[in-house]
C-alpha cells in the first residue's frame, strides 16, 4: 500500500512546465528525499500533494485518495512542515501547538502539549514564552511538534533543515528516523545532499520539472551521490 503516490503528475504554467509526468510511490516507513536546484519542481510537487495547486495532468494520491478531488479530507492523513515556520508571534509555543492541533481536530491537555514540544527538542523553559522571542530553530521545533501532534500517515517537508545549525539539523534527522520507524511515509525536498543520503531510504534527483533518477540511499556513498548530482546538473 502506497501512502503517497503520484501518477503522471504534471503542472504547466503558461510557458513553463513546472512538473512533468512525475511517477512516485512512497510506502509506510519510507523517507524519500527530492534533490534539485531551485525551480526544479520540488516545491511544486509538495504543493500538489497539499492540494494548493491543481494538477494540469495526472493526479496525486494520499492513502489512495485523489488530492484534487478531496482536498480537505486528504489533509487528515498528512502533516506538513514548511521551510519557514513563522507561527503566531503573540502566542506562546504551547498556545501555537494547541491552536494548530485543534484546527486538525485534536485536543490535547496542557501537559501533553508540553511533552510534544519537548519531545520535538524545544527547551522546557521556552514552552510558555511568546514565539516572538524564539530563534528559527526553535520555531522549526514547534513546527515539528505540530506535525507530530497530527499523528499523520504522511509527512511533507520543504527544505526543513535550511538555516538550522548542524546540531539542530542532526536532531531533526534522528526525529525523522524515529517517525519512519513508526511507519510514517516521508517526502522531503532538500538541497542538502549529505542529509539526504544520511536520512533517506530513497533519493530522487529532479531537473527542470522531471525526476531524472531515483536510487536507494544504501547503494551509494555521500560523495558518490554528490558526484552523480553534479553530473545531472551539468548541461
Amino acid at each position: 500500500m502506497n501512502i503517497l503516490e503520484a501518477k503522471g503528475l504534471s503542472k504547466q504554467y503558461k510557458d513553463k512546465a513546472a512538473l512533468s509526468q512525475l511517477d512516485l510511490q512512497i510506502k509506510p516507513g519510507e523517507i524519500f528525499c527530492l534533490l534539485g536546484q531551485n525551480g526544479a519542481g520540488k516545491t511544486t510537487t509538495i504543493n500538489l500533494f497539499l492540494g494548493f495547486v491543481e494538477p494540469s495532468a495526472g493526479a496525486a494520491f494520499i492513502n489512495g485518495v485523489d488530492v484534487a478531488k478531496q482536498p480537505v479530507q486528504t489533509k487528515k492523513d498528512l502533516a506538513y512542515i514548511p521551510e519557514q515556520v513563522m507561527l503566531y508571534p503573540n502566542l506562546s509555543g504551547r498556545e501555537n501547538l494547541s491552536f494548530f492541533s485543534q484546527l486538525a481536530g485534536f485536543k490535547y491537555a496542557k501537559a501533553q502539549l508540553g511533552d510534544l514540544l519537548t519531545g520535538a527538542g524545544l527547551q522546557a523553559g521556552a514552552v510558555d514564552q511568546r514565539v516572538s522571542t524564539y530563534s528559527k530553530g526553535m520555531r522549526q521545533k514547534v513546527g515539528i511538534a505540530i506535525a507530530l501532534a497530527k499523528k499523520a500517515k504522511a509527512l511533507l517537508l520543504d527544505e526543513p533543515t535550511s538555516g538550522l545549525d548542524p546540531k539542530a539539523s542532526n536532531e531533526f534527522s534522528e526525529l525523522l528516523k524515529k517517525l519512519s520507524g513508526q511507519g510514517t511515509a516521508v517526502l522531503m525536498a532538500t538541497h542538502d545532499i549529505f542529509r539526504a543520503k544520511e536520512v533517506g531510504t530513497r533519493v530522487g534527483i529532479m531537473r527542470e520539472g522531471r525526476l531524472v533518477t531515483t536510487l536507494n540511499a544504501a547503494d551509494i556513498t555521500a560523495s558518490g551521490l554528490e558526484k552523480l548530482y553534479l553530473e545531472y546538473m551539468h548541461d
Binding site: 494548493f52 480537505v72 506538513y80 519557514q84 485543534q102 484546527l103 486538525a104 513546527g143 511533507l156
Partner: protein
C-alpha cells in the same frame, strides 16, 4: 472550530501593542464624547424647560393689551431636545432651538449653536456618533487589513490550510475573531449609553426603541467594514496593498463622498440667496390684503366684497369690528405666501439630500449618518416637523386674537384691551414630536439598503476567500 479560531484571533489581537494603543484611544474618545454630550444635553434641556416656562409666564402676564398688539408682542416656541441627541446631535447646532411666533410673519429658527462657536466648530465636534461612525471603522480597518495578507506573507496560511481546514471555515473564523474584539469594545459603551438613557427623564418607550434601532444600524455598519476589510485582506497579495486599499475605501466612504456629494447637490439644486429669497417673498406679500394698509388695492377690494356680502354701505355698519376681519384676511394671505415659499425651499433641500443619499451605494457612511440622525430626531425632517407644528400653532393663536378683536370690540375702538385672564386662556403650544412609526417608515428603505451592503460585502469576502492559496 469557529470558537477556537475566534478565541485565538481575540488573544492574538489583544496582545498586539499597536492595537491596544489604538483601541484605548478610541475607547477613551468614546467615553469622553458620551460624557461631554450628556452634560450638554442636560444643560440644554434644563434651559429649554426654564425658557419655556418663562416665555409662557411673560405671555400670560403681559397685562392689559389690545389683542392684535399682543399678536405683535409674540410668543416663543422651543424645540425639544431628545435624549438620543446625546449620541448624535445631527444638524441641531445648525438649525436653532427656538422660533419666535408673531403676527404677519413666519420666522426662521433662532439661536443656532454654530453662531456662538468659533470657526473651528466647523471642523466638527466630538460626539459619540462621530467616534462610532468615523473612527471605529478606521479601527476595524487597522484590526483586519492583515487578517489574511500577514498569513500569506509569513506562510502561516499554508500551515493552517495543511491542517485540513476549509478556506471558508477559516474566513468565518477570522470574521468571528474581529467581531469578538469589536463587541468587547462597543458592548460596554452601548450599555453605558442605555444607562444614561434610562436616567434621562425625557426617555419614553419610543426613545428606547430608537436606541435599539440605532445600535442595530451601527452593528450593520460595522459588519460592512468587517466584511470589506477581511475580504480585501483575502484578495490582496500583501498587507501594504490591503492597507492602502482599505484606507482608500474608508476615506471615500467617510470623507470624500459625503463632501463631494454635498457640493454636487448644491450645484444641481442651487438654493436662492437669502436676499433673493426675501425679495421674492416680499413681492408675493405685496400682492394681497394688508391688514395694516387699507389703501392697498387688495385691501380695498376685500372691503368692497365684505360690504357687498353683508349688504351695507360702510364698514362701520358691519355687525363686528371690521379691522379684526381685515387683519385676519391679511394674515391668511401672508400665511399662504410663507407656506408656499417655505415648502419650495424645503423641497429644494430634500432634493439636495436625495443627491447626497444617491451615492450611498459607494458610501455606507452616508446611509448610516442619515439613519442615525433620523433615529435621534436630529435630522432635517424632525426640524421641519417642528417648524410646521409651530406654524400651525401660530396661525391658530393669531386667528384667535384677531377674532377676539373682530367679535368683541367696536369699530375703530383701538383702545380695546384684554387682560391676563384672557391670555391665560389662549391656546398653549403642546408640541407632539415625530413618532417612532413615522421614523421607521422614513428609514425602512435605508435600513434595507444597509442590509444589502452587509450581504454584498459578505458575498465578496466569501468569493475572495475561496480563491485563497497557500
Amino acid at each position: 472550530m469557529l470558537k477556537t479560531i475566534a478565541l485565538k484571533e481575540f488573544t492574538d489581537t489583544l496582545r498586539d501593542g499597536r492595537f491596544r494603543v489604538a483601541a484605548v484611544l478610541v475607547g477613551a474618545l468614546l467615553v469622553v464624547s458620551v460624557l461631554v454630550s450628556r452634560h450638554y444635553y442636560q444643560t440644554v434641556s434644563r434651559q429649554h424647560e426654564q425658557a419655556k416656562r418663562t416665555a409662557r409666564y411673560q405671555w400670560e402676564n403681559q397685562g392689559s393689551n389690545n389683542p392684535h398688539s399682543a399678536a405683535h408682542y409674540g410668543v416663543y416656541a422651543f424645540k425639544p431636545k431628545y435624549p438620543l441627541s446625546m449620541l448624535d446631535n445631527g444638524l441641531d447646532k445648525y438649525l436653532g432651538v427656538s422660533l419666535f411666533l408673531e403676527a404677519h410673519r413666519q420666522n426662521e429658527s433662532q439661536f443656532k449653536a454654530i453662531e456662538d462657536s468659533s470657526a473651528l466648530a466647523r471642523f466638527g465636534e466630538l460626539t459619540p456618533a462621530f467616534v462610532l461612525i468615523y473612527l471605529v471603522p478606521l479601527l476595524i480597518v487597522l484590526m483586519a487589513f492583515g487578517a489574511f495578507t500577514s498569513e500569506k506573507e509569513s506562510g502561516n496560511l499554508r500551515l493552517v490550510l495543511s491542517q485540513g481546514l476549509s478556506r471558508r471555515t477559516w474566513l468565518l473564523g477570522k470574521l468571528a475573531g474581529v467581531w469578538l474584539v469589536l463587541l468587547t469594545l462597543v458592548v460596554p459603551l452601548f450599555l453605558i449609553g442605555l444607562l444614561f438613557l434610562a436616567a434621562s427623564p425625557g426617555a419614553d418607550g419610543g426613545e428606547f426603541a430608537r436606541f435599539g434601532l440605532l445600535a442595530l444600524v451601527l452593528l450593520l455598519y460595522f459588519a460592512v467594514f468587517v466584511n470589506v476589510s477581511v475580504g480585501v485582506s483575502a484578495w490582496a497579495a500583501n498587507s501594504n496593498g490591503s492597507l492602502v486599499l482599505l484606507l482608500g475605501f474608508w476615506m471615500l466612504s467617510t470623507l470624500v463622498l459625503p463632501k463631494a456629494t454635498t457640493n454636487l447637490a448644491r450645484r444641481l439644486y442651487p438654493a436662492p440667496s437669502a436676499l433673493a429669497y426675501q425679495a421674492a417673498l416680499e413681492k408675493d406679500l405685496k400682492n394681497g390684503v394688508d391688514g395694516h394698509d387699507s389703501a392697498n388695492e387688495f385691501s380695498k377690494k376685500f372691503e368692497r366684497e365684505t360690504l357687498a356680502k353683508y349688504g351695507v354701505d360702510s364698514v362701520s355698519q358691519l355687525p363686528f369690528n371690521y379691522w379684526g376681519l381685515a387683519m385676519q384676511a391679511g394674515e391668511e394671505h401672508e400665511e399662504h405666501v410663507f407656506d408656499k415659499h417655505t415648502r419650495a425651499i424645503q423641497d429644494l433641500y430634500r432634493r439636495q439630500l436625495a443627491v447626497h443619499q444617491a451615492s450611498a451605494f459607494l458610501s455606507p457612511t452616508i446611509l448610516t449618518r442619515l439613519l442615525s440622525m433620523s433615529l435621534a430626531r436630529t435630522d432635517l425632517e424632525a426640524h421641519y416637523h417642528f417648524q410646521q407644528e409651530a406654524e400651525n400653532y401660530r396661525i391658530r393663536l393669531v386667528r384667535d386674537l384677531n377674532y377676539e378683536l373682530k367679535d368683541h370690540s367696536k369699530y375703530d375702538d383701538w383702545e380695546y384691551q384684554v387682560n391676563n385672564d384672557f391670555f391665560r386662556k389662549t391656546a398653549r403650544f403642546d408640541y407632539q414630536p415625530v413618532t417612532l412609526a413615522y421614523t421607521t417608515g422614513q428609514t425602512a428603505g435605508k435600513l434595507v439598503f444597509l442590509l444589502g451592503w452587509v450581504l454584498v460585502s459578505l458575498a465578496g469576502a466569501w468569493w475572495a476567500a475561496a480563491k485563497l492559496n497557500g
